[in-house]
Subunit: 132 residues, 2 copies
Amino acid sequence: MSLNIQYTIGQVAEKSNLSIHTLRYYEKEGILPFIKRNESGIRIYEDEHIEWLKFICCLRDTGMSISQLKEFVELTVQGDATIEERIQMLELQKKTVQDQVNTLMSYIGMIDFKIDRYSKEKAGIKSTGQPE
Amino acid sequence: MSLNIQYTIGQVAEKSNLSIHTLRYYEKEGILPFIKRNESGIRIYEDEHIEWLKFICCLRDTGMSISQLKEFVELTVQGDATIEERIQMLELQKKTVQDQVNTLMSYIGMIDFKIDRYSKEKAGIKSTGQPE
DNA sequence: ATAGTCCCTAGAGCAAGATCTAAGTCAAGT
DNA sequence: ACTTGACTTAGATCTTGCTCTAGGGACTAT
């Protein structure tokens, strides 16, 4: 429990696959409002921040915008009173992701169909000169 | 077969959920190089172009860039000789989409986990004041 | 004490993908 | 004849999400 490893921004950048620039940018945009500094003003990250970043990336990669992320973070900072609202947001986001998955699956079907068409064409069936 | 319905750009915009601007933009970028014009210079779209647009959107929505799309269209225009290469591209894109799906599924897991955590917290278990 | 390396800020710059503007053409309807 | 509305162009502008620059501070090793 007292094992509280701390990281500099460079180390976090490596761990999180985000650039140093991006980490500072996210902080400026209010997505990481809880990073402490040492006496010299250097950012000190802890494990929980890395975890948080992973989750942020999850939301971002599923299409949440920076400003929506900021909103979500603001709710989090406000504490218990906003838990219900946050659950709602996440439920909605989950639904969005499920829709994305369904859409992508249908796209796989379309690509397969086209591959099939090309394969037959390759086998010498036809050529219209038109895209198809 | 002689039922060859034609459309103006406005009609296509409605049918395809792309804006008129975007349709012209795509044409300028070489993604729709086969649209004929009438005597007045008005673009005439046909059903096959609408189909093609749907496929273009599929590739675009799965992360293919405008310039990659252009490349793909150029291969298509070149005809039979490029079929194998096009199949390769589509196979690769298909793999990309499958990876996307897998990633999204894991994200759903993360979101679920967080929802679960919030739900427990709501039930009165704890509150750290930290994002979690 | 000098170099090297990491950190800091504020703000500029960039790329992609649209999206819009200005100025104009064209055809149909009244 | 004239309005309406959909179309045309070239090119400017916008948005998002970074990404980088300039100028500087702080710590470590030589």
